[in-house]
């Protein structure tokens, strides 16, 4: 069985939660702002995963503090937003690596489950 790639210096609490992972996946291809992330996650899960603002902003801050995502302010749509900036989030290289490692870990665990009992 192939070995998992080491996850740098990350300790288990530093790994993203399911919600954080969903947020990261929603901004993997292109940067999005808070409300847009909520809509994308909701649409992608057919409405089963609804992220409230109360959960979204702390999760974004945690991910940013851990270096998994980065934020950039933009003066888009200021009239509708009553003068408040949009904050666009994008996944960093470190974040991409963590997502790839999580994917690889899932794959390994599934393979492990299918292995004959005498091997385990």
């Amino acid at each position: 069985m192939g070995k998992l790639k080491p996850m740098g210096n990350l300790k288990p609490p530093s790994l993203p939660t399911v919600l954080e992972e969903a947020i990261m996946l929603s901004i993997l291809e292109r940067p999005r702002f808070g409300q847009n992330i909520v809509e994308v996650v909701s649409a992608a899960s057919d409405g089963t995963c609804q992220i409230s603002c109360g959960t979204l902003y702390p999760a974004l801050r945690r991910l940013e503090n851990r270096g998994f995502i980065r934020a950039e302010r933009s003066e888009a749509n200021l009239a509708v937003r009553r003068g408040h900036n949009r904050c666009y989030y994008a996944v960093t290289d470190q974040g991409r690596e963590v997502l790839n490692n999580l994917e690889a870990m899932r794959h390994q665990i599934k393979k492990y489950d299918k292995a004959p009992e005498f091997l385990t």
Binding site: C53, G54, Y57, R61, R70, R81, H84, D93
Partner: protein
């Protein structure tokens, strides 16, 4: 009336770092409901509900980022031996050296200052006395200047990195310019701990050509970041009497060093005119590598990888004059400014216009 009520309530109830974006998102959501012709009462209830959620987020973040670290730090400090604390204080007050501990303390202090005034912040952080009082005072001075000029938020990242750059500038300017050679310059710039979060502000890719973004500039030193998309390259040139240090922030840099005898004809001086491409043997540098270019030596940079490349440049001497500079009207830039008898790197005046509602 309702809008004003929410905006005013947010000033008190919403945690400052998320206030701007969360209120913007709230009004954007409200606008979406309006365009879908949602009944006014439902819109009102939904907006209020979202606002309550933002307040909830604020409480969570306040605990996570302010209260819990405060409790932990006061717990740790109480275990410090009194003599050890006095000793630490004396040493640091003598040196005023910007150590990594001082940087961490400045960061913690700025975060606390977002919520409290200087006296309460120092009390909460148990600064009686603090070994880092010199830097805390510098912090207060910058914050005060920014607030006088209309800045509404405390930009921790800008302050921390301005101290790092100020520290570098003071070291360089303490030595007569003619005594700074490549080796001395390397010693100054090789361990400048500018943070990734700060440098990311200066990263901007342009499909047309590589883009250069100025971070700060004084009579002696210019610091700038260059963003290179795959395939983009500078052609062969030299920097005249200037010294250059290039640090790879991310990506892969292909680099050629060319002494005048290595290529046919002269190596041209950098500038607006398109120079020639050099095709001799190259070296490849990756994240964290530092490359030094001596006076009069030609060089050429290229991004021959499939990933974006970001390089940080320290130029001892006149910065390049060409059409690769990005406009700075939409990005942060630190300005070396005289304040109360000394120079500080400050966010520019236009920021106060930028942050006005």
């Amino acid at each position: 009336m309702f809008v004003q009520l929410i905006e005013n309530a947010a000033k008190v109830l919403v945690y400052e770092p998320i206030r701007d974006e969360s209120l913007g998102d709230l009004w954007e959501l409200d606008y979406q409901l309006k365009t879908r012709q949602t009944p006014k009462l439902i819109r009102l209830i939904k907006t209020l509900w979202t606002f309550l959620q933002i307040v909830r987020a604020s409480v969570i973040l306040l605990f996570e980022e302010q209260i819990i670290p405060l409790i932990q730090s006061s717990h740790n400090t109480s275990f410090l031996d009194h003599d050890q604390l006095i000793d630490r204080t004396d040493n640091s007050l003598q040196g005023k050296v910007l150590t990594s501990e001082a940087i961490a303390e400045v960061r913690r202090y700025c975060n606390t200052r977002r919520l409290y005034n200087p006296t309460l912040s120092r009390k909460l952080l148990n600064y009686s006395p603090t070994p880092y009082i010199y830097w805390i005072r510098q912090c207060d001075r910058i914050i005060e200047k920014c607030q006088e000029r209309g800045h509404k938020s405390i930009d921790t990242e800008a302050i921390v990195n301005s101290f790092i750059l100020s520290n570098l500038l003071r070291k360089i300017e303490a030595i007569p310019p003619h005594q700074i050679n490549l080796e001395a310059f390397k010693g100054f710039v090789q361990d400048v701990p500018l943070t990734d979060a700060f440098l990311e502000r200066y990263v901007a890719f342009d499909r047309q050509s590589y883009g250069r973004q100025l971070i700060c500039r004084t009579w002696s030193l210019a610091v700038y970041a260059i963003s290179w998309m795959p395939g983009q390259e500078s052609w062969l040139h030299h920097h005249g009497h200037a010294l250059d240090a290039i640090k790879v922030i991310r990506g892969e840099m292909t680099h050629w060093i060319v002494s005048p005898g290595d290529c046919e004809g002269d190596v041209p001086f950098e500038g607006f005119s398109r120079s020639k491409r050099y095709e001799g043997p190259a070296q490849v540098f990756t994240t964290g590598d530092l490359v030094l270019i001596d006076r009069g030596v030609g060089h050429q940079i290229s991004n021959r990888s499939s990933e974006n490349l970001v390089t940080l440049h320290f130029r001892f001497g006149h910065p390049p004059e060409d059409n690769h500079w990005r406009t700075t009207s939409d990005t942060e830039m630190l300005v070396w400014k005289q304040t109360e008898g000394c120079f500080d790197l400050m966010p520019p005046d236009r920021d106060c216009v930028f942050h006005q509602p």
